[in-house]
Subunit: 252 residues, 4 copies
C-alpha cells in the first residue's frame, strides 16, 4: 500500500551532511509568486534535484509534458551549495486539496528539514491586495520576535494590518509548526493584485531573499517576464477602456 | 508524525491535583457569545495558561499578531483558583472544519476534563433569533434532568421550543458525549441576533454563569463594549432608515 | 479515544439468543417514510430498546428534548417478540454525513445483524416521484432473485423502471453488503411526492410489511396522521389556487 | 470490519499464471468512452469474469437491475486469452468520490496488476473538446518516452497541446503511479464533444487498441451504436435549428 505522503531522495543524493542549510519553500499560491521565485532560483543557480514528494492529498491526476509523457503531481527538493552554506529548495505542482492534508504535508516537510539539519526556513508567497501594484512591497511574518530586525533590514515590511487574517497553506503552517519544533521560519510575501501570475512581485521577493541569504541571483530574466506581463496587463486595460469609450459614444 | 489532536500542558502546570474543578468552554460560534464570555473571564480573573491544543482539524493557516509574529490556530486551557474550587477555561481560535473532527476534538476535551477531575462542564454559546434583542435572555440545556432546577434558579430559561433543532459544535457535543462518560454538563446560550459580535448577549451569560459557579466577575468592561456595539448597530439602523426616507421622498 | 462507530447494548438485554430474528430498518430519508413506519411499529408493538449506536459520521450536534435535556444523535435498536419470532428494529435520528461513513455504518449494522443471528433484513424507505400520489404503491428491491415471489405476493411492485438509478444510503447498502455476507435483504419503498413527511406512503409500506413478517399492527393512528397531512396539503393547494385565481382576476 | 478497498477473485479463477498479460482499463469518464470500449471488448471477446472490486470510496448506494435485484457498486476484472497472451480487463460502475480514494484505488489496481504479472497497462478515456467531432482522433499519453513510437505508429496522436492540463482519475493515475512501480502504461483518449455518451469516439479508440495489442475485435455493433447516436444528435440539432428559424420568422 502506498504511503499517504512519500518523500524519496534521489540515489545521487548520498551525502546528507549539509553545511548550515536553509530551506526555501515556493509552492503554488496567490499570483504564483512563491513558486516563481523559488523555481527561478533553482533554474538560475543550477540547483541539483535531490528528492521528490508524492501524496494522496494532491489532485488525483497526472500532468503531461509537451511530448505526452506523464508524471504524477509532485513536490521536489533541490540543493545548491552557496559560498559557505547549503540551500535546499522545496518547489512543486500543487498544495494539498484537503485541510487535514495541509497539516500532514507541512509536518512531512518539517521531518525532511529536521533530517537535513535545517535551522531556518524561508517560505515565499504572494499577498493579494485586489488592485494593480506598480512597486510591490514585500511583507514579512516570522515565527519568533528575534527574527524581525534582520528581516526588516533587508527591506521587508512588517505591517500592523497586513496581511490581516493570516497566512494559508504551507507558507503559513511551516512557520507555525516549525516554531513548535524549534525551527526558525520567515514568510516573505510579495504584494500582488492576485489577478494574474505576477513576476514583478516575484522579482521584489527575490531581491529581498537574495540579500537575506547572501545568495546573489541575476534577476534579469525575471524582470523581463515582469515587463512582458506588464504589457499584457496594460493591453487588457487599454482594450477595456476603449470598449468603455465606445459604449459611451453610443450613448452620447 | 504529528498527532491529529495534541493537548500539551505548560511546563509551569505541575500540580494537576485540582480542587473540585469545573470546566468552562467558550469557543467561536454564533455572535461569538461563548468566546466573549470565557475570554473576558480569563482576562478579568487573571487565569493562568496551563495548556494548548493543536489539531489538523483546524483551518490550515497561521494567525499573525500585530507584529507579524505567527502562531498556529489553537485552543487554550486556563486555570483560576476561586475561593474553594478551580475553574478551568477552554477558549480558542476555531472549532473543527470537518464533522468527524468535531466529534474527535470533543472527545479529546473530555479526556482532558477527566484527567483533571472535572465533574461539571459549562459550555457557552449564542442562540441566534434573527432579530435585534434588547434584553437578551439566557437559554439553557443540560445533559441530566437533575441539573435543571439549579440552573433555572440562576435565571436561565428552559424553553419548550428554543433552541429548536439542537446545539451544534463543541458546546453541544460536550453535553452529549459528556453524559456518556458521566460528566454533568450545562450549556448556556445568550439570545442574540446572530448578525454581529454580541457583547450584550455575552454580558447576560456572564451574569448567570458568575452566579452558578459562585465566581464574581466585574462586568463593567463587557457592558462598555456592549454599549459601544449598541451605538454601532443604532448608527447602522439610522443610516438605513434615512436612506429609506430619502427613497420615499423621491417617490413622493 | 472514542470509536468511530459504537454499538452498545442495554444492560437489560442479556439473552441474545433470538428466535428466528428478522431486522427491520427505518432510518431518515425521502418523505421520512421508512422512519415513520419503523418508529410507528416500535411504538404500537411496545418493542423494548436493546441498544444504541453513536458515530462520528453523524452531524456534530446534540438534540434537545422539550425540557432542554440533550442527547447525542443516535440510532437505536428495539426488540419485539412476535408469535414465533423476534423482530429487531433499527431506527434513529440521522444517516452518515459522509460517503465513506455510509459504508462503514452499514457494515456495523450488519455486524450486529450477524451477531444476533438475523437471516433476513427489511429496509424501508420512500421513493420520490415528484408529484402528489393519492394511492401510493410500494416498490420493492431484493438482494436475491428467490426473494421476489414472496414479496410480490404481498402486494409489492417490482417495476422494470422504478426506482431507476438505485437506492442510496443504508436502505440500499444493507441489501448490497448483506448479500456479500449471505444475509437476505428486501427494500420496501413507499411511493411519495418527496415534498413532505408522508404518513400515507408509510401506511402503505406498513400494510405490506405487516403481511410479509406476519406481525399485525393496527394502522389507525398512522392513517389518522395521513388524513391530517392530507388536509394540510389540500389547504396549501387551495390557497395556492386562490392566489392564482386572484392574480387572474386582476389581469381580467 | 470491511476493507476500505477489497479485491476478490472468483473461485473459478485458480490459475493466476498468465501468459505475458496486459491490463486494459475502461472506467466511467468523459463521454463514457473508456467504459464503452472496454465493456464492448469484454462482450465481443467473451472474456471471463475473474474478480470484483468494492470500495467505501464508491457512491453509497446499490444499483438495481431490471428485475429489482440489487448489487453494490463495483469494478470488475475480466480475462481473455488471445493468441499468445492474456488480456485482463478492468471495467466498472464508478470511480472514487474522493480525491484520496482515487489514489488509494489506483494503488490497489496496481497491486492486482503486479500480482498477475502485468507489464503493460492501457487506460482508455475520452478527451472532451467541447464541440461535435465528425472523425474523432485518438490522443495518447505514456509514462515512458520509449513507448511513444509504437503507439504513434498505431495511429495515435501525441499533440504538444492536447490534452492540456493532464488526465484526471484512474486513467491518469495508473500511468503516473505505474511508472513509479516500473509498469509501462499508455493512455488512449478518444476525441469527443463531452456532451453525450460517444460510441463513435469509442470506435476510434477500439480500432487503435486492437492494433496495438493485436487482438482483433469486430467493431460492427459499436459502429451501429455510433450511427444511432449520430441520428439522435442530428435530430437534436435539427429541432434546435427549426426553433431558431421560427424565432427569426416571428421577429421578421
Amino acid at each position: 500500500m502506498i504511503d499517504d505522503i512519500s518523500i524519496r531522495y534521489c540515489d545521487t543524493f548520498t551525502d546528507k551532511n549539509l553545511a548550515d542549510p536553509i530551506l526555501v519553500v515556493g509552492l503554488p499560491g496567490i499570483g504564483q509568486v512563491g513558486k516563481l521565485v523559488a523555481e527561478y532560483m533553482v533554474h538560475m543557480l543550477g540547483a541539483k534535484k535531490i528528492g521528490e514528494i508524492h501524496a494522496i492529498y494532491f489532485p488525483p491526476q497526472v500532468i503531461l509534458d509537451e511530448n505526452g509523457i506523464s508524471r504524477l503531481p509532485r513536490n521536489e527538493l533541490y540543493l545548491y551549495l552557496a559560498e559557505n552554506r547549503h540551500v535546499v529548495f522545496l518547489v512543486g505542482d500543487f498544495q494539498s486539496t484537503s485541510n487535514e492534508g495541509h497539516y500532514l504535508m507541512a509536518d512531512a516537510y518539517l521531518d525532511t528539514a529536521a533530517e537535513l539539519g535545517v535551522k531556518r526556513i524561508y517560505t515565499l508567497g504572494g499577498f493579494g491586495v485586489g488592485h494593480l501594484v506598480s512597486a510591490p512591497r514585500v511583507f514579512g511574518a516570522a515565527n519568533r520576535e528575534d527574527l524581525k530586525n534582520e528581516v526588516s533590514e533587508a527591506g521587508v515590511t512588517f505591517d500592523r494590518d497586513e496581511p490581516g487574517g493570516g497566512i494559508v497553506g504551507a507558507a503559513g503552517l511551516l512557520l507555525g509548526m516549525g516554531g513548535l519544533r524549534g525551527i526558525d521560519a520567515v514568510c516573505l510575501m510579495g504584494e500582488t493584485s492576485g489577478y494574474v501570475v505576477d513576476p514583478m512581485s516575484a522579482a521584489s521577493v527575490l531581491c529581498v531573499l537574495s540579500k537575506l541569504i547572501a545568495v546573489p541571483v541575476d534577476p534579469t530574466q525575471l524582470n523581463d517576464r515582469a515587463a512582458e506581463m506588464e504589457k499584457v496587463v496594460q493591453g487588457l486595460l487599454e482594450s477595456e477602456k476603449n470598449q468603455h469609450d465606445e459604449e459611451l459614444s453610443y450613448i452620447g
